[in-house]
Symmetry: C2
Subunit: 199 residues, 2 copies
């Protein structure tokens, strides 16, 4: 009984630290944010902090890992939609439309850091590869059933979709005037053209 | 006469500092690189350094401004190709294919920094808007002449192309296994499908 309460408290504290870290990274970037700043923001004494995360890297890894639950929801569009093309289009829409501009700025920051930080790269890569694999399977199924009429290979179609998602999330970060919902709608249109209408 | 020599020397020194800064930013990121590191790398004494650039921000701005000459070359595809669709496809190919992975990592770093640094954002935005404007004009011309048969608006088509370029450059940065030439070829195929074959 007390154990459960401790676990709940521990999880709540972790959540507090991750939220504080997000806010700091968005405002100042990864390298100009110190552990102390994050803990101050989270209202946690620096003495107890290392029970939760031992470094900023660990915090970023936890942030990316926390996206896995969101990814599970996104990937359901691929596994549960009878029409592969509509499933992919919906995945693209949700991957972009649920980002706020702050989320997109954070993604750009983590992305840049991952290019030279192997530990962070590894957790991002795990998520990307999971999405990529399931997209590829869905593309192949769509081509077999005729729902996807594009001539290009399932691999190339998968790359197109991943590049469009990354590109639109980047454009949301760089263009405060671009509403995520509008970006998501445009990306979805592009994907429908690429997979369904292209001949 | 001596003046010209001084100018040439000054320009050469600037070039040295910019090259050194690139190397440092790619290896360590913007915020973990100090002015001192850049000057050491460039072999310039820190006393004379501030004759060239007064801050790291100024160096990044100069790096982005230096891309203008490359941009001029890229945009020639739009102004000098009689076929708007082929011009755009070639622009997309060159925008991506001439990146090395290091260039792409640097672009990701500068991109992330620009989201919260107004001075850097401004110079990037000037380049992007120039490309965007000319792309839009070329799309409109292509739709008028029938070279571009896509149903969507010239604005949306322009956004598609910009997102594809950003997305593929990002994927080059994140995926050491993805050759820039292959990324460029895939992006070009996607653009041809989107603009020419989609109906």
């Amino acid at each position: 009984m007390p154990r459960k309460k401790d676990e709940a408290l521990h999880a709540a504290r972790e959540r507090q630290i991750l939220d504080a870290a997000k806010t700091c990274f968005i405002a100042h970037g990864f390298h100009r944010t110190s552990m102390r700043q994050i803990l101050n923001k989270a209202g946690i004494s620096s003495g107890g902090a290392y029970n939760y995360f031992s470094s900023k890297d660990d915090i970023v890894k936890a942030l990316v890992e926390a996206e896995r639950a969101d990814l599970d929801l996104l990937l359901k569009h691929l596994t549960e939609n009878d029409d592969p093309l509509l499933g992919i289009a919906q995945l693209v829409y949700d991957s972009i439309g649920y980002y706020s501009r702050d989320d997109a700025v954070l993604a750009a920051e983590i992305y840049a850091e991952s290019c030279r930080n192997a530990a962070i790269d590894e957790v991002i890569r795990a998520n990307t590869e999971r999405m990529s694999r399931l997209l590829h399977e869905t593309m192949s199924r769509g081509k077999r059933t005729g729902a996807i009429t594009a001539r290009h290979s399932a691999s190339e179609l998968t790359e197109w979709v991943l590049a469009l998602i990354d590109g639109y999330v980047g454009r949301i970060a760089a263009s405060p005037g671009l509403k995520p919902r509008n970006a998501a709608r445009m990306a979805k249109h592009a994907v429908v053209e690429l997979l369904g209408h292209a001949k």
